[in-house]
């Protein structure tokens, strides 16, 4: 009778067979990703397949973190690792330690993936870009303290604007941890050392050398910066993600300095021209005012002031002659009127009547007797005539 074995024993045996087969160790397998899942633990589980077969795959978190691109379904990859048995489930799996896209470069793929993701988030939108200050006083620089970048920025900015001041936050610009340093430098200026504009960059190099400037942490730090950022990653043709997110992109550090500071000789020219225009305007204005004044002074009012009186004196003479004519006329009229009135007055003057031979009769009380009925026989009356009066006694009355 055959020997009876437990499930574990057989499984362990198979596991041992695979473990001892060097052909299954450090092997690189080409395949297409499907059913990709990454759990919150960070471990990744998926299948690699070709047209005939499927291989179960695992990437532990510690390896998954080192992947530069994001594995996606249908992606063609080259994965390196070892095939082992997962005893609990009784299945063999491919434990992957390294994985790279097949065909396209790993970095190129990573670049495209991150670019697309951040672009969707709006990090590269033109309308969020900040305007560079026209006249910065201090430029913050995040770059290597050694390379030519700093020198170029210094030379160009100083030539254009002698008063400019540079503040360097030195960082590594490639290698492990460099992206974090660059991001920290940007944040440092924003939180602890305010400057007017930032230049973030490095000299030229391969895509691998420039890689820090494609890292998400750097891109996000530039995006978050309240200080305008100029990227200066030294290469003309390819863009880094830092270039896409920066407020301005310069192809070289020298160009970054040109973008950052104005050429003061141009500004000085502008100010000098303003001064000339100012002088010209003032001189013109004063000359014009003087001319107006001279024109006024030239008028006959000032040159022959008596002419101003000519018309007045003529008017005066005219008025005088009119006045005297009127006066003579008036006096003449008044005199005529007076003579006339006097004649009329003479007619009603009682004394005038007396002069013509009439008498006025008063009774004893001195009242004028103007009617015959007011008198009786024997009344004593006084009669006034021209030159005096006499007393008389009424002898008879004859009414008429």
């Amino acid at each position: 009778m055959a020997v009876i074995r437990s499930v574990s024993e057989v499984t362990k045996y198979i596991a041992g067979l695979l473990k001892n087969d060097l052909a299954l160790h450090n092997v690189t397998i080409r395949g297409q990703i499907s059913n990709f899942k990454q759990y919150s633990s960070g471990h990744c589980y998926f299948d690699l397949k070709d047209k005939d077969s499927i291989l179960k795959c695992v990437i532990w978190r510690s390896y998954a973190e080192r992947l530069r691109f994001r594995p996606e379904n249908d992606m063609q990859v080259l994965a390196t690792g070892s095939v082992e048995v997962y005893e609990r489930d009784g299945k063999y799996q491919f434990y992957i330690s390294r994985m790279a896209p097949d065909g396209v470069g790993e970095l190129a793929l990573a670049f495209e993936q991150l670019k697309e993701r951040l672009s969707k988030e709006g990090l590269f939108d033109a309308e969020v870009k900040k305007v560079l200050p026209a006249y910065p006083k201090t430029i913050g620089i995040v770059t290597s303290p050694t390379g030519a970048v700093l020198r170029d920025i210094y030379t160009v900015s100083r030539r254009r604007m002698p008063s400019i001041r540079l503040a360097l936050y030195p960082v590594m610009v490639q290698g492990a941890g460099s992206a974090e340093q660059i991001a920290h430098g940007i944040e440092f200026f924003n939180t602890k050392y305010p400057v007017d504009v930032l230049i973030v960059g490095r000299g030229g190099g391969s895509m691998e050398d420039l890689w820090s400037f494609n890292e998400e942490v750097v891109v996000r730090a530039i995006f978050k910066s309240r200080i305008p950022v100029i990227s200066a990653v030294g290469h003309e043709t390819d863009f880094t993600l830092a270039d896409f997110v920066a407020d301005q992109r310069a192809a070289t550090p020298s160009q970054a300095a040109e973008l950052a500071v104005p050429d003061v000789s141009e500004v000085i020219q502008r100010i000098n021209s303003a001064r000339e225009r100012l002088q010209m305007a003032a001189v013109t204005s004063i000359r014009d005012s003087r001319r107006s004044l001279e024109a006024i002074m030239d008028s006959f009012v000032f040159t022959q002031p008596l002419r101003m009186l000519e018309s007045s004196s003529m008017k005066l003479e005219n008025l005088q002659s009119r006045l005297s004519k009127i006066a003579i006329q008036l006096v003449k009229e008044k005199k005529n009127r007076l003579v006339h009135d006097m004649e009329k007055l003479e007619l009603i003057n009682p004394l005038g009547v007396i002069r013509r031979g009439y008498g006025i009769v008063h009774d004893q009380k001195g009242t004028i007797v103007s009617d015959i009925s007011n008198i009786k026989v024997d009344d004593m009356v006084s009669v006034k005539l021209n030159g005096g009066h006499f007393d008389a006694q009424v002898k008879a009355i004859r009414e008429e």
């Binding site: 026209a134 006249y135 303290p145 700093l150 020198r151 210094y154 100083r158 604007m161 002698p162 008063s163 400019i164 001041r165 540079l166 503040a167 360097l168 936050y169 030195p170 440092f188 602890k192 050392y193 003061v264 500004v267 000085i268 502008r270 100010i271 000098n272 303003a274 001064r275 225009r277 100012l278 002088q279 305007a281 003032a282 013109t284 204005s285 004063i286 014009d288 005012s289």
Partner: protein, 80 residues
């Protein structure tokens, strides 16, 4: 015209060019012309002084120590 204590270079420059435009329009009174001319010359003098100043503004290299900012002079060949 209300003037701040310390106008920025940009403000002074903008102000200067405004004054020039105003005077060139020929609409200002003689007193205005003289006042603005004086002010404009003063502003332009200030701007020029600021641009031409090469007083040693020290370039610095920065670091952090216990969260504090440390400034060290930044030596650049042929500079300062």
């Amino acid at each position: 015209m209300p003037r701040k204590k310390e106008a920025s270079f940009e403000e002074n420059l903008a102000n200067l060019e405004q004054i020039v435009d105003k005077l060139e329009s020929g609409e200002a009174s003689l007193k205005d012309v003289i006042d603005n001319y004086t002010l404009g010359m003063e502003l332009s003098r200030k701007c020029l002084a600021e641009l031409k100043s090469v007083e040693d503004k020290m370039n610095v290299i920065l670091s952090e120590e216990d969260g504090k900012v440390v400034e060290m002079p930044l030596e650049l060949e042929g500079g300062q």
